[in-house]
Symmetry: C2
DNA sequence: ACCTGAACACCGTTCAAGT
DNA sequence: ACCTGAACACCGTTCAAGT
């Protein structure tokens, strides 16, 4: 007996429609989980479930979990807009802008930047970003050595900032409206004889939002790099610290 | 029948002599595992085993694993030597020295610094260290705001550096004597039309050891902080980046 | 070649029960 | 109050078997 013909869309399973597995599809699912629930919620089992299969099936397309996370990270890195044109006269602004963009993109994808720490960057998009950063610094007249080390350093800063922010995100409980007041109270109530500076500085230690903190570090690092540039005209020997 | 009297040391069990449980003893065991095998090998079960008991017993002394790790971290922080006396005229050197010491201490304890990222520092020793850092910066004439933000920033840098180094430690396999050559080959064999700067800078990108990289970032940050100091004599408005 | 069910060898934490 | 055995609800990865 032939099946009764159906009109309209075929009926779908409640959740996961069967898509043929591929790295791309796996990364889609992984990013969906990361965006919604964060890196800790990302498990092979969870990804498999989202795709309507078992965890073992994923291993035909990724060697292990780390490789899957690296692929997701590179995909996100591809979303960072790179400057259309490099203007050597304002490399600092372009550099700062690039990093603020990078942070914004990572922030849109939960705490995925945590995974960037200590990963050797071999993804296409990550290499493109590194190449752009390097070009920006070199165009600005930064010494080769400094430029090379700076790329690593800034990547470290970006990853670490995201890591820290993702930890803080858990901190303020729903029932705790004023996290600043609590933290300020903690510092100012410390024994003043043992921690005089912490007590005295309770206010500046506990004010400032994330953007300000990030920009502060970014600004500091760029200033540091600037100080290594020896201008062609009035070249002066640069001593360390003064 | 009375037990036969024994001379000399009493016989010990092969492995774990029964010590009454306490936070201190738990931290001892945890640090032993971290030092020998790293943070990934640290599990509640492993610590319990080391102490000759079951994992559930630990929960009478620590609320959870995070608290145990935090306690271990604070213990290690206590090993960092703080400057006996603050000399405002050379705060930069003292600051740099303090950070190099901190890194050395953390390095002695495997990759424990990984745990410092994103942890709100409430331990005794960590507070003491933060207080010292703050004092050093303020003595050097660094503005309050900058000093407060800098303490956080440097802690971030220290933790992130250790994190990165602990990852790299796994990288070079025993059968891979020349990791530098391999990495250099990777960059120089990249398509030059897409990644021109990475190809051209393959050499500076892959040279330099960990100490140099750490010192570079440390130096850069200190230079950045210096640039925020407005001297009393010739006070000049400081514009961002030139 | 790709996919699967089932298993292996682990986790952190809880809980009722003991002392 | 402190400790325990046993269990709960998970992990990443492997492997023999299927198609």
């Amino acid at each position: 007996m032939p099946p009764t013909p159906r009109r309209g869309r075929p009926p779908r399973a409640a959740r996961p429609i069967r898509r043929t597995l591929s790295l791309s599809v796996i990364v889609d699912a992984a990013l969906g989980i990361i965006d919604a629930e964060g890196l800790d919620a990302l498990t092979m089992r969870r990804v498999a479930e989202e795709l309507g299969t078992g965890p073992a099936s994923l291993y035909a397309h990724v060697a292990n979990k780390d490789e899957m996370v690296a692929a997701a990270l590179d995909r996100v890195t591809g979303e960072i807009p790179v400057p259309a044109e490099i203007d050597p006269s304002r490399w600092q602004e372009q550099f700062a802008e690039l990093f603020r963009s990078a942070r914004a993109v990572f922030t849109r994808h939960g705490d995925i930047a945590r995974a960037s720490l200590g990963v050797v960057p071999t993804g296409e998009n990550t290499l493109t970003l590194a190449n752009t950063m390097l070009g920006l610094l070199l165009a600005g007249g930064v010494p080769d050595r400094v430029a090379a080390l700076s790329v690593d350093l800034f990547a470290l800063y970006l990853g670490a900032s995201a890591f820290e922010e993702s930890m803080e995100a858990i901190e303020p409980t729903a029932a705790e409206p004023d996290f600043h007041a609590e933290l300020h109270g903690f510092f100012s109530n410390l024994p003043a004889d043992r921690f005089p500076h912490l007590v005295a500085m309770a206010e500046p230690l506990t004010t400032g939002n994330r953007d300000e903190r990030f920009d502060f570090g970014l600004d500091l690092l760029i200033r540091g790099i600037e100080s290594t540039i020896v201008t062609g005209k009035s070249a002066h020997s640069r001593n360390k610290h003064q």
